[in-house]
């Protein structure tokens, strides 16, 4: 089958898709976007998290056909420009929240969603928001640091912009 969807703002088309393929497989193996990761492929680890029409979703649980005509944003589309990083991405590197990095793309989408909606999250709120993303390396302490940092920077930027 043929699939049409929008990925990171660009219209994309993929042909000869086997109907059993997931959105994750299409992104990784057919569209050359391996950022979303394949750690469990059953919706438990969150490493494949992408935005589907603005809502974080496990792309491994979305059949390719369900994405027909929809809007997808992956980790590759979080940064505002080619040479820039989103504050969440900057904070993850700075705070040491990235070790092996395999969970990072999914966590970044989840954390991006959090700080876009809440620039002053409590630790309890951060933990609830990120509870669907497994990390095996960090013990999560530096991830909490990174999200706090990203939230405060986003807050400051929004204040400076007067919004």
């Amino acid at each position: 089958m043929r699939l049409n969807l929008t990925v990171n703002g660009e219209p994309q088309q993929a042909d000869d898709i086997w109907p059993g393929e997931s959105l994750l497989y299409v992104l990784r193996e057919r569209l050359g976007l391996p950022g979303a990761k394949n750690a469990c492929e059953q919706g438990e680890c969150g490493s494949c998290t992408v935005y589907l029409d603005g809502v974080p979703a496990c792309s491994c649980l979305v059949a390719a056909g369900q994405a027909e005509g929809h809007d997808v944003v992956t980790v590759e589309g979080l940064a505002p420009g080619e040479d820039d990083l989103h504050p969440v991405q900057e904070a993850f590197v700075e705070a040491g929240a990235v070790q092996c990095g395999f969970c990072t793309p999914g966590l970044l989408v989840a954390a991006h969603n959090l700080v876009e909606h809440n620039q002053n999250p409590s630790d309890a709120e951060i933990r609830e928001e990120l509870a669907g993303n497994l990390c095996r390396c960090t013990g999560y302490e530096k991830i909490l640091d990174a999200v706090r940092l990203a939230a405060s920077r986003t807050r400051n930027r929004k204040q400076e912009a007067g919004t």
Binding site: E29, V93, C100, G101, R136, C137, Y140
Partner: protein, 766 residues
């Protein structure tokens, strides 16, 4: 003018600083290529047929229907292995593909290459394997002691039995005022790295193969892969691709030989990616253990003897079981002075999944047992758990149970004092259910919730032990690029997430006084770096990079001394300048080097160790020892058996902090894996079959399970190690598990002789 002597203060991003990871930006942009992200024109997908039985004979394999499937390019069995048909980390006993017998559920039997992964998956199910099912041997105690049990390997079912004998335990029993005994068990833990086993094999024109895989030790892979392929080692070229975590699980081979066989057979690049279920079958796990311990002490808490019998279930093949036994034996009584010791550690074969390396191996199991015993002793003597540990604590000058002298700082008593001084967390605020066991499941508002506090102490050997010369090799190249002095560092050491690439660059900056350092991709075009395990890479590859940098510096100083007529020992490199202690700045390094390139390759070896005596366990078997201590605070809902770890504090002596951010990440991460072992992580087996090979059923800690941590990091230098550092990857994994178990006991009053502690252990109904 005087030249600054403290290099650390002048080199940004050097040793002691916490520069950002060089791969960090690529990782957060989704551009870092992990082994499962690789892609090649014209590539095929490989898949593996695995045994459904833990123990069976194979009488025939029919590949006809699978091979006839459209889109399938190859179906291979043991008959197609081009070279030696067995491999193994220590002992080549594992068939590349099963020959006439399978010894564990999940053992690879046949391979398929096809144009789409789903075609490959369906084709493996069309392979007809005729099994003659045999009774599995699944009881490790039977494997160790019952001569009538089925023999799984020609040399019997015991991989290694290592005794340790000190003094006279029988005699010492009479001196003990109090004796405590216990039998403890540890379930089978999985490393559960997130990046599945995967990689790409590309056939080369010279008849060889290029392998891009995620591994912990390329050279040991190479030494196993090349013979199986019937190729000389120089025809198998390995490059490390992005590694999505390791924790020991990538020390043994998984898909490497299989992908290379399919590539050589089809002449096409082959990609293999395990899914999570296959990953549970595709790597070794942490050895489950049954440990019987007995300690005797005087009324004031001084240990007079310890006796231990430890049985480690190695599963179907040898892997690193012998070394796990070595650690469980030599570290069997932990960091305590015990005048009389009798330890027997066994590693055995069973038809359970193969077990091998996982963070802290051998030491993790022993630590849970000896620390449970120390708490029992404290209770029997009505002493504080920290006091009974303190009065028996090793220090510099103590001897281990192996007779090895502790000849570097081991300030355990001071660490325990510091742990005690860390303030306890406030009582739980019951008004927010997110703070309570059960969380937003709304299972309690505080009724039935009891708080407990527990402690754990662990001792880990750093680097390989027992006479192994696990050296590392580094190449450092200094030249001018774009008008600036720049260094290239090349090793075969595996970056598995721990931050070794960051550290290598830090060392080169400090040693060469420059800012620009590039880390070359790790491959087998350079000498061995040893494994990214045993907490050893900061020490060994760090040592190799430092030594190679020193050689580059010496070569440079030789030339400078001749040119400026100054003694070499007066020279230093700071801020990209060549500096003389007498004459000040001599010249910018870039100007001095011009077009010249200085390149040096060096090996670094740690001080030699010896094997232990096979009957007494005596010997100087360890390179370095590291200590970590934990305090755990838990809240337990004693009615429902739910619990929440409220806080974990740790004190660790690391000798020297090279990169605080990375170091803290190691301590946090190791602690989290210890928490997993304490309260949730276990591969459940039934007659040798895995019952929970998925992240739905095998649980690892989430951000809700892992509590805030407080760390107190000490720097008592080890004079034998580069910069005085102590390996830091594993120690925190040891002590967090017994600390949490002790805290749960404190809250519930239950004996809890087994981890992971399950909800039904906390609500005994029988």
């Amino acid at each position: 003018m005087t030249a600054p002597t403290n290099l650390e203060s002048t080199t940004s991003g050097g040793v002691g600083d916490s520069p950002q990871r060089p791969d960090g930006t690529r990782k957060v942009k989704g551009e870092f290529a992990y082994s499962s992200d690789l892609w090649h024109d014209d590539m095929l997908w490989g898949a593996t047929l695995r045994s459904p039985h833990p123990h069976a004979g194979i009488t025939a394999i029919d590949i006809g229907e699978a091979l006839a499937t459209p889109g399938v390019h190859a179906v291979l069995t043991h008959d197609d292995v081009p070279g030696v048909r067995y491999y193994g980390l220590d002992h080549p006993d594992q068939p590349v593909l099963a020959i006439d017998r399978v010894r564990y559920q999940g053992e690879p039997v046949a391979l398929v290459a096809a144009e789409h992964p789903e075609v490959a998956r369906r084709a493996i199910n069309k392979i007809g394997v005729h099994y003659q099912v045999l009774e599995p041997l699944t009881d490790p105690r039977r494997a160790a002691f019952d001569a009538s049990a089925p023999r799984l390997h020609e040399h019997g079912n015991v991989v290694r039995h290592q005794p340790v004998r000190v003094g006279d335990v029988q005699k010492a029993r009479a001196e003990a005022d109090v004796v405590v005994q216990g039998e403890y068990q540890i379930g089978m833990q999985d490393q559960a790295f997130l990046g599945p086993e995967s990689g790409l094999a590309v056939p080369a024109e010279d008849g060889g193969v290029d392998l891009y895989v995620a591994t912990q030790w390329m050279h040991v892979d190479l030494r196993q892969i090349a013979p199986c392929l019937g190729l000389p080692e120089d025809k198998v070229r390995m490059t490390l691709s992005g590694v999505g975590g390791a924790f020991g699980a990538r020390e043994d081979l998984s898909m490497q030989v299989h992908a290379a066989m399919l590539a050589l057979h089809t002449g096409r690049p082959i990609k293999i990616v395990y899914n999570r279920e296959e990953s549970f079958y595709g790597h070794v796990h942490r050895h489950p253990a049954i440990m019987r311990y007995e300690h005797g002490a005087t009324r004031d808490g001084k240990l007079v003897y310890a006796k231990a019998e430890t049985i480690l279930d190695g599963g179907a093949y040898t892997s690193s079981t012998a070394n796990v036994v070595g650690n469980a034996a030599s570290l069997g009584v932990g960091p305590y002075e015990v005048p009389n010791v009798e330890i027997d550690a066994y590693g055995v074969y069973t038809n359970n999944p193969p077990c091998g390396a996982m963070r802290g191996f051998g030491a993790v199991q022993a630590c849970y047992a000896y620390e449970s015993q120390m708490d029992k002793l404290a209770a029997a003597l009505d002493m504080h758990p920290l006091d009974v540990r303190r009065v028996n604590a090793v220090s510099e000058g103590s001897k281990l149970a192996t007779g090895q002298l502790v000849d570097t700082p081991a300030p355990l008593a001071e660490m325990l004092r510091r742990l005690k001084n860390i303030p306890l967390p406030d009582p739980t605020d019951n008004s927010d259910i997110r703070n309570l066991p059960g969380g937003v499941s709304n299972t309690t508002h505080g009724e039935g919730v009891r708080r407990g506090v527990g402690y754990g102490v662990g001792l880990k050997n750093i680097c390989f032990s027992e006479g192994f010369d696990d050296y590392s090799t580094a190449r450092v190249r200094l030249e001018v690029i774009g008008g600036e002095p720049a260094a290239l560092v090349h090793t075969a050491a595996a970056e598995v997430g721990q931050g070794l690439v960051t550290l290598q660059a830090q060392i080169a900056r400090t040693e060469l006084g420059i800012e620009r350092v590039t880390i070359a991709p790790a491959d087998t075009q350079i000498g061995d770096a040893g494994s990214s395990s045993a907490s050893r890479q900061s020490y060994m590859t760090g040592g190799a990079v430092k030594t190679a940098c020193e050689a580059v510096r010496a070569s440079l100083f030789g030339r400078a001394a001749a040119r400026f007529g100054l003694p070499e020992e007066d020279l230093s490199l700071i801020g990209g300048k060549l500096i003389s202690a007498r004459a000040g700045v001599l010249v910018a390094l870039a100007d001095f080097l011009g077009d010249e390139v200085i390149e040096e390759v060096r090996e670094y070896h740690h001080r030699p160790t010896t094997q232990v005596d096979p009957t007494t366990g005596q010997g100087d078997s360890h390179t370095q020892l590291a200590l970590c201590v934990h305090r755990a605070v838990v809240d337990v809902d004693v009615e429902l058996g739910l619990l929440k770890v409220v806080e974990l504090s740790a004190v660790q002596d690391v000798g020297k902090i090279l990169n605080r951010t990375s170091l803290e990440g190691q301590i946090h991460g190791g602690t989290a894996q210890g928490l997993g072992l304490a309260v949730m992580e276990e591969i459940q087996l039934s007659e040798g079959k895995l019952r929970n090979p998925s992240f739905t059923d095998y649980l690892i800690p989430t951000i809700l399970d892992m509590p805030p941590m407080r760390l107190d990091i000490l720097e008592n230098a080890d004079p034998h190690a580069p910069y005085g550092l102590r390996g830091a990857g594993e120690p925190s994994t040891l002590s967090s598990t017994p600390a949490i178990a002790a805290a749960i006991r404190d809250a519930t009053g239950l004996s809890l002789p087994r981890v992971p502690v399950r909800p039904d252990d906390l609500t005994p109904t029988s």
